[in-house]
Structures are given as structure tokens and as C-alpha cells.
Symmetry: C2
Subunit: 317 residues, 2 copies
């Protein structure tokens, strides 16, 4: 698959930050960026640009706020052609969290939102556009949206803002490929000015397959992370995505280097990837918070491997 | 998806046995069978029925030979409706390894073969049929077959034996869903008397997605294993497959119980599941033996996480 307009976005530090309160060491982020810049990915999302009123800086690492000065230190001395993105949560960030583009190394502001917060999202996206950035709106928890509300939100986005992409975000990893088809078709019915993007989670081991499906259906912005690092079961692995995309500009070698040197050591500290608790939350189309709690238990906790107990607790039996 | 003629086969002990020389403790196998019998799966493959001339019984566990007496002890005292299968490798088993059906608890003999050994496979399948068993032929390493040889083999199977299913086996986990479509169509062109089956490996995290694709394309025999236990990156996880299939006869609870009590403890002894070494072998469409070697290294071995070195060794850079 080689389509010039197809853009690959890495969000390792941003989505991975959900597993460690965005506490990645600075040198690790710089090394990740160096390798990603060499890999040919089109955009690197370096973290959240959320509000310190919503997240205590004593508790959260700097990549929850990803200030311009920190990004400048990351990119210093590194040749890169990719765009640099940060994410703002519609309900956890404010317009004032973003300064003017002239002083910022940020190119793209990705605004993540639930359908219910679409007005806030449009406001933040327009704030970014007015300040000189490019912007996207990423609709989270797509599998929990009510059809009419989703359609209204898409219509509003189409009419009220000039983002360059609108994302389908399968936060709960519950979509099958036929669902991906369904949502892309729905998005295309309303979204005429912007590209469609997809961001998948791997609760049912379908993140990569669903991303391929979205590419086949002409989604042109696709998210991946190094070795799938991300919340819960993780994301679409960037190394797999590059294997599928035949664009000669991509180079798998720096991706493998980054996984070897920066990502594998994290396995000693945090767990992400497929598991039965995540599978159950994906199958049941629910937030993985209970699965995350189970994974945080000590190995000798009787609840840790009591999958039937978890299934019961989640209300299925 | 609910299609009465769709049959789910569990091959946890058989394929998982490739990771520990088939050394599962007897009680573990009995417990796995008890739970699978309660789960509603249609067939349970309890091991290989290969030859002691090809595998040294001092080195390999009893599930490499899976003799009738061992199976009788497994099923003793357990109510079950599923069929019981064993696998014979076309090049590692002999007709004499199979006794008459009258004395055997085995229902189905699955003959695994490379295209080159199809004559041996047909011979073993017909031996099973003549002795009163049902039989399948499972074509391994499908992604390495030469078209003309595959077509000839399929034609031969259609003409020379009466197996009830012919399997596509993606041994190297290198197929994309479009490849699954391609092979199913090719199989259907030649195989008119038998059902089509699919057995996937997870090198590219596509085992489940490709199994779904095969189901959609009317493959009626699908293989899964508990928590994906199987060689290398493992197989299609049975617990995911049951989530997709809406047949009310399936019960996920005993599957979860079996994973909790019998499979998770194995994680301390053997590693299976997605990894970069397996991903590379899937992407490159090669046998996972080099990836298996890498995984067997100690954690402090410099080769263990040298993924670029591995990629170079595999000949891509």
C-alpha cells in the first residue's frame, strides 16, 4: 500500500504517558524523537498540552503539559522533517494553554474530545487555528456515541472549524473491521473538507487489522506507537504499520533501534499489551479502568488472575 | 456471526507443545480438556500422534505421541460432546502409529503437511479413514507454496481422499486479510467435497483478524488456542474467537477458568505472543526459528534486544 497522501502519526509519548502519568525521562523522549525523525513518520506527538489547573504538576510528568521550551530542548540538534504535535483534551485544556505559533515548535494541535464536549473541542481547535497552528479533532470513545449526537457533532465540525483531519478513536478497542467501515462511511457523509483519521486500541488484538481496514477505506491519517506502547492493551504498533505501508520514505531500522533502546526497558516498569482483562473490556465495549486496576495488583493477589470473577464483576454473568 | 456449520477447534495442547516439546503435565491436560468440553468447542486436539522413530520419547513428552491410553485417562470421568483429534505430521508419522478406531477415543486425525509431502499426507489421511476415523489435511507454510504445486496438491486431495476439511495453515503468520481471501478462493476452486479450514499464527497480530476474515469468506473450520498459546507469536486466541461468534452453545466462562488456572502459570516457563523478533519473521515471511532462538537467550545477552542486528541477520539490511 503506497498512497502519498497517507500520513503516519506516532503518539508513543502521548498515549504511552497514560500508563506512567507522562513521566518519561527527558533523554528517553529525545532519543525516541531522534529515531522517529529518522524513520520518516509524518508527525510525532510529543505529549499532552493539558492544563496545570486540571493536572497537578507535582503528580504528572512534563509530557502532560509539553511546554514549548521542553519541546525545543527535545528537537535541539536533531534534523527532522516531520510535524510536531501535542494533544489537548477538550475538557482538560484551555485556550490559554497555547501560545502564539511564532514562538512555538509545535505544528499541530490535536484536540481529543468526547462527543458531548464537541463545542469545547471546536473552540480549542479554532483557538489553535487562529494562533497559526494546524489542528485536528479526535472523537474518543466512538463506540459509546449515540448516533444522532455523533452526526450532529460531525456536522458542527464541518461547519464551524477548519481542522485538517477528524479522527475516529476506538478508545475501548471494541470495533471490528465492519464497524471501522461503518464509521468511516458515516464520517465521510458529514466531513467533506477534512481527511479522516483513525486511532485504534488493541484490546481485541485488532488495532493493526482495523488500521489497515481504515487505510483501505481511505482514511489518510493513521496513528501508531512504538511496540504498541499505549493505554491498556496499547495501540497499533508502528513497526507493523511500516511493514504494511510500502512508502519508500519509511525506514524501519530507526524504529527497531528505538524499540530496542527506549521501549523494551519500560517493560520492567509498566505493562501494556493484550491480556484477558483488556480482552474482556474490549469485548464488553467498556472503559479499561477495571482491567487497569487488575493489572496494577500484586502477582499474588487472588484477584489478579481471577478472570471469571472479573467477568462477573463487569456484569456479564 | 452465528452459522451452525461453523466449527471451532482448540489446539492448545498440540500447538502449545511446540514450545515445550509437548511436556505438559497430565493433570494440566485433563483440566484443560475438562474446561474445553464445558465451553462448547466442537473439537479438541490433544496432541500429536507422531512416530517414536522420529521423536525420542526420552526428550519429548507424551503429547507428542498422544496414545489412546493417555487420552482415555484424560477423558475419564468427564462429560463431553466435542470430537477428539490428534495431529499427524505427514513426514513424521506412519500409518502404523494409528490403531483401529474401535479401540480408540480419537475421532479425528488431522494430517499436517507441506505441499511437497502431499502424497504422504493423502496416504496418512486415507489410512485414518480406512481405520474408521474422520480426517483433515492441513497445508502448512501456505505462504511458501509455489502456485502450481499448491494447485496440483489441492487437485490431488480432491481426487484421492475423502477428508472432511482442508486447512490453510499460515505457519509464518505472514498473511494479510487479502491473502486469506486469495487462498480461500483458490482452495474452493479445487476443493468441492470438503470444508475449508484456517489455522493462523500471530506474528503480525493478525491471527484473530484473519480468522474472522476466513469465517466471513465461509471457512467452516477455525482453530484457536487458550490465550493464543502456540509456537512463537502463538495462535488465534480462543477467548477472542468466542467473543466474535454468537453461537449460544459457546460458554466463555470455562475458557476463562482454564486460562486462569492452567495457562497463565505457564508464562513463568515459556514465552509466546507478539514480539519484534516474531514480527520481523512474519513480515519477512520466514520460519520463526531465528526468532525462537533469540527468545531463548538470557535477558542480559547482547543479542536479545538487538532488533536491528536481527533484521540485518535475516537479510533485509
Amino acid at each position: 500500500m503506497y498512497r502519498p497522501q497517507l500520513k503516519v502519526v506516532d503518539c508513543t509519548i502521548r498515549d504511552g504517558g497514560l500508563m506512567n502519568d507522562s513521566h518519561f525521562p527527558f533523554d528517553m523522549v529525545k532519543n525516541v524523537f531522534r529515531h522517529l525523525a529518522a524513520s520518516g513518520v509524518d508527525m510525532v506527538e510529543l505529549g499532552y498540552r493539558n492544563s496545570k489547573k486540571m493536572f497537578d504538576p507535582k503528580k504528572y510528568g512534563i509530557w502532560r503539559f509539553t511546554e514549548d521550551d521542553d519541546i525545543k530542548r527535545v528537537i535541539e540538534g536533531i534534523d527532522y522533517n516531520c510535524e510536531i504535535a501535542v494533544m489537548q483534551d477538550a475538557h482538560k485544556a484551555f485556550a490559554a494553554d497555547l501560545g502564539p505559533k511564532e514562538n512555538s515548535p509545535v505544528d499541530v494541535v490535536r484536540v481529543a474530545t468526547y462527543v458531548a464536549d464537541v463545542d469545547k473541542a471546536i473552540n480549542l481547535a479554532n483557538n489553535a487555528l487562529e494562533k497559526g497552528y494546524r489542528a485536528t479533532i479526535n472523537i474518543m470513545a466512538i463506540s459509546h456515541t449515540i448516533e444522532r449526537e455523533l452526526e450532529e457533532a460531525l456536522q458542527q465540525i464541518e461547519e464551524e472549524t477548519n481542522v485538517f483531519a477528524v479522527y475516529i478513536v476506538d478508545s475501548f478497542g471494541s470495533l471490528y473491521s465492519e464497524d471501522v467501515d461503518y464509521y468511516i462511511e458515516k464520517f465521510k457523509k458529514y466531513i467533506k473538507k477534512s481527511e479522516i483519521g483513525i486511532h485504534c486500541h488493541n484490546q481485541q488484538q485488532l488495532a493493526y487489522a482495523n488500521t489497515i481496514e481504515a487505510i483501505i477505506k481511505n482514511a489518510n491519517y493513521v496513528d501508531g506507537t512504538l511496540y504498541g506502547l499505549g493505554r491498556g492493551a496499547g495501540n497499533c504498533p508502528l513497526e507493523l504499520l511500516m511493514g504494511f505501508l510500502k512508502n519508500p520514505k519509511f525506514n524501519l531500522v530507526p524504529v527497531l533501534e528505538a524499540i530496542s533502546s527506549e521501549i523494551m526497558p519500560l517493560e520492567k516498569e509498566i505493562f501494556w499489551g493484550y491480556s484477558v482483562p483488556y480482552m474482556l473490556s474490549g469485548k464488553l465495549n467498556i472503559h479499561p479502568k477495571e482491567a487497569l486496576r487488575i493489572h496494577a495488583l500484586e502477582d499474588d493477589d487472588p484477584d489478579k488472575y481471577d478472570y471469571v470473577g472479573l467477568y462477573r464483576k463487569l456484569g456479564e454473568i
